[in-house]
C-alpha cells in the first residue's frame, strides 16, 4: 500500500540498549521526606526529543534533574532505584559527578549567562576541564555558537558582555555553552518559559536540529510545545508515570483517560 507520509517511530517497549540513552529503573525520589517520584520505569531513546509534561509539582523537573544529579544540590534529598547511562548506574558511589554533568548538559528556565564575555561563557566548561589552548577554544566556541544558531548574531562581538544579549540570545548562548562540552544528553528545564513566542519557536527549531547528535529531554509546561517539538512524550501525574508514548499518538489518541483529560484541559 502506498504511504504518503514517512513516519519512523520506534516501539518504546522494544527499545534495544543501543537505542537507549537513559534507562530509569524503579526510580523513586523523596524531597523533604515527601515522595516526589514513585517507581518510575522508562527508557529514553537515543537522539530523539523526549518531552515531559504534567502539572506543577508532578515531579517532572525532579526526574529531569535526576539525570545529571543536579537534584542533589537540594537539601534533604533521598532516592531509590537506578538511572542508567550507557549501562552504568550514575548513582553509584564512584561516579564522578562533575564529569557526568559535562556529558549530560542542562539548560534552565531562565537564561543564566555568566557575567562575562560571550566567548568566556562558551569556554567556561572547557576552562574548568583545564583546556586553555587558544586555537582549540576558538574552534569550539565557533562550532558551539553555530550549532546554537547564534554565531551570525554575535560573531562581531564575542568579547562583549553576555548580559547585553536579548533573552532569546541569552538562552541560545546558554545552550551553546552546554554544547561546547559535546554532551551526549541535553536536559532542558522549561527552556522557553521566559521567552516570547517567536524566540520560543527559534529555540524549538534549534532543539530539533540538535537531535542529530544529541539526545534531548525537555520539561515543559506548554503542552503545545511538547507536541510541536518532541518525538516522544511522558505524562507524569503526582509522581507517577501515567503514559509514555510517541507524541503523535499521545496527542491524538492518548491511551489513558488521565492523559486525555490533561491534554484537553479537563483537569480540575
Amino acid at each position: 500500500m502506498l504511504k504518503l507520509f514517512e513516519t519512523e517511530t520506534l516501539s518504546l517497549d522494544k527499545l534495544t540498549d543501543e537505542q537507549t540513552a537513559i534507562k530509569v529503573k524503579d526510580f523513586s525520589v523523596w524531597l523533604n521526606n515527601s515522595l516526589v517520584l514513585n517507581k518510575i520505569n522508562m527508557r529514553i531513546p537515543k537522539n530523539k526529543i523526549t518531552a515531559m509534561i504534567g502539572q506543577s509539582g508532578c515531579g517532572k523537573s525532579t526526574l529531569l534533574s535526576s539525570f545529571n544529579r543536579m537534584n542533589e544540590l537540594n537539601q534533604k534529598y533521598a532516592f531509590s532505584g537506578e538511572v542508567e547511562l550507557d549501562g552504568r548506574d550514575i548513582y553509584n558511589k564512584k561516579e564522578n559527578v562533575a564529569k557526568l554533568r559535562t556529558k549530560v548538559g542542562m539548560v534552565f528556565q531562565r537564561p543564566n549567562p555568566f557575567p562575562m564575555s560571550i566567548y568566556e561563557n562558551v569556554c567556561f566548561g572547557l576552562r574548568i576541564q583545564g583546556k586553555t589552548e587558544r586555537r582549540m577554544l576558538d574552534d569550539i566556541v565557533e562550532t558551539s555558537l553555530r550549532n546554537a544558531a547564534l554565531w551570525d548574531e554575535v560573531k562581531g562581538r564575542l568579547f562583549d558582555s553576555a548580559l547585553l544579549l536579548s533573552g532569546g540570545q541569552q538562552q541560545r548562548l546558554v545552550i551553546a555553552r552546554a554544547l561546547a562540552l559535546k554532551p551526549e544528553i541535553l536536559l532542558l528545564d522549561e527552556p522557553t518559559s521566559a521567552l516570547d513566542p517567536l524566540t520560543t519557536l527559534h529555540i524549538e527549531e534549534l532543539i530539533n536540529q540538535l537531535k542529530k547528535t544529541t539526545t534531548v529531554v525537555i520539561v515543559t509546561h506548554n503542552m503545545q510545545q511538547a507536541a510541536r517539538v518532541s518525538d516522544y512524550s511522558v505524562f507524569l501525574h503526582q509522581g507517577e508515570l501515567i503514559e509514555y508514548s510517541d507524541s503523535d499518538s499521545l496527542f491524538t489518541m492518548p491511551a489513558k483517560k488521565q492523559t486525555e483529560d490533561y491534554i484537553t484541559g479537563r483537569y480540575g
Binding site: R101, G105, P115, F124, L163
Partner: protein
Amino acid sequence: MRKFSAPEQQTISSFASGLSAAILLIVLMSLVLFIVLKGSAYFWPSQVFKVTTYDTPNSEVSVFVPSSVNIDEFNQALSDKLDAQFSNSALPMPLIVVEKVDAVYQISLNLGAIQYGKFQQVNTPNSERYQLAELNDVVADVAIFQNQLHDIQTNYLTVLHRKIALLNQSGVGEEAPARLKELEQFTYWQQKAEALRHKLASYNLIFIDAAGQPFDVLVKDIDHLFQPNVMSLFDKISYSGNKIIEFVSESPKQASTSGGVFPALFGTVLMVLLMAVIVAPFGAMAAIYLHEYAPNNMTTSVIRICVSNMAGVPSVVYGVFGLGFFVYTLGGSIDSLLFSDALPSPTFGTPGLFWAALTMALLTLPVVIVSTEEGLRRVPEGLRAGSYALGATKAETIWKTVLPFASPGIMTGVILAIARAAGEVAPLILVGAVKFAPSLPVDSEFPFLHLERQFMHLGVFIYDGAFHNQTNTQGSSMMFASCMLLLIIVFILNLFAIIVRNKLRDRYVRI
C-alpha cells in the same frame, strides 16, 4: 482626639518625612560648610592691624594683630570684648585705637613662627645697605653659604666624627699620630663652619615692631616675606596656593601650629589602605564560609548575630584589645622569636602601623562580612546551577561565578570600612598613631615599608590639636584645615571605591 481625613494624613506624613530629610540635609550642609569655611580661612592671608592701647595719656602699648576679618568687624569685636571685660570692673576702660598699616610685613620664619614689623634695612657683612627689592640677591648669597655649611657638616665633620669615634672604640691612644691628624682636620673644618655661621649671622634684616622698637631677623631664617595689607587678589590666591601645597607636603612645625600635615596624611592613607588589604580578603572569606559552606543551623545563626554585634562594640575596646593582644602578646612573641638580639628595645612589641591596621581591620570586619553576605545573597540561584551543570565543583563555582558577582557587595563593605577607619581615633592612639612621628613608615631603606614604625594620623592630629591649642587661634584654624583635609581624604577614598564598585557592578550585575 481629632481624626485626620485621608488627604490630611497624606499631607502630614509627607510633610513629616520631608521635614526630617530637610533637617538632615541642613545639618549635613552646615557641618561641611563650617569645616570648609573655618578650614579654608587658614590658607587665606589674614590682615594685620595695629592695635594701640592708651592706658594713661602718656603710656601706650602697640601690637600688630592678624585677623581674617575687615577693620570694622575687628573694631566691633574688640569693643564687644572690652565691654564684657570692663563693664563690671572698677578700672577705667582703656582707649584703644585700631589702624590698618599698609607698610607692615608678615615675616614667616622657617621654624613656623610668624612676626610682624615695618621694614627698615638689610644688613650684610660688607656693610652695604640693600633695599628690599634686592633681597633676592642677598638670599641667593645666603643660600650659597648655607649649602657650603651643609656640605662641610655632612661630608667632613660627620665623617671625621665617625672616624674619631672608631679610633676611640678600638682603643687608640690619646697621642697617636693618626688620631692627632684626624683631630687637626676636625678642628680645621669646625673653624671653617664656625666662620660660615658667623657670616650667615651677619646677613640680617632690621624691622620695627608696633611699638617702634627695631628687631632683627636672620636672612637664613626667613621662609617668606610679604605685606598682607597691600596684597592684590592674585597675590592672595598664590599665597593660598603655596600655603595649601605646604600644608599637604610638609611636616608640622612649632608644635603642630603651623607647617604641614603631610606625615599625618600619608599615615592615614597608608593605614587605611593596609587595613583594606587585610580586611577585604579576610572578611570576604569569612562571609563565603558563612553563606556557602556553613550548614543552615543554630550555630550559624549565632555566629551571624555575633558578627552583627561586633559592629556595635565601642571602638576603644578594640583599641585596648589591639594593645593587649596584638602589641604585647603577639608583638612580644614575635620580638622574642625573631628580633631577640634587639631586645630589650622592642621591635614589634610596641604600638605600630601594622598593629593599627590589624586592629582597624578587626574593627571593620563585621561591616565587610555583612555586606559581602548581602552580595552573596543577591547572586541568582540560576548562576550557581548553571555553573554546576557545566561540571564545575563547588569551589570552582564559588571562585569563578559567585565571587565575581558578589564583588560589588565586597566593595561596598570595603567602602564602609574605609570611611570608618579613616575617622577612627580612640583605638589608634592605643595601637600606633602618635602626635609626632620622627620618620615616615615608608622610606628608601630596606624593606621600604616599615610596619613596626609608629605613624601619624589625621584624626589623632586633629584630636591633639583640639586639646592642646585651644588658645591659639591660628593653631585651631590649622585643626580645622586638617578636618577639611580628613573629610576630603575620606571623600576621595570613598569615591575611588564607589567607582570601582560601579565598574564591577556594570560588569557583573544585570541591569
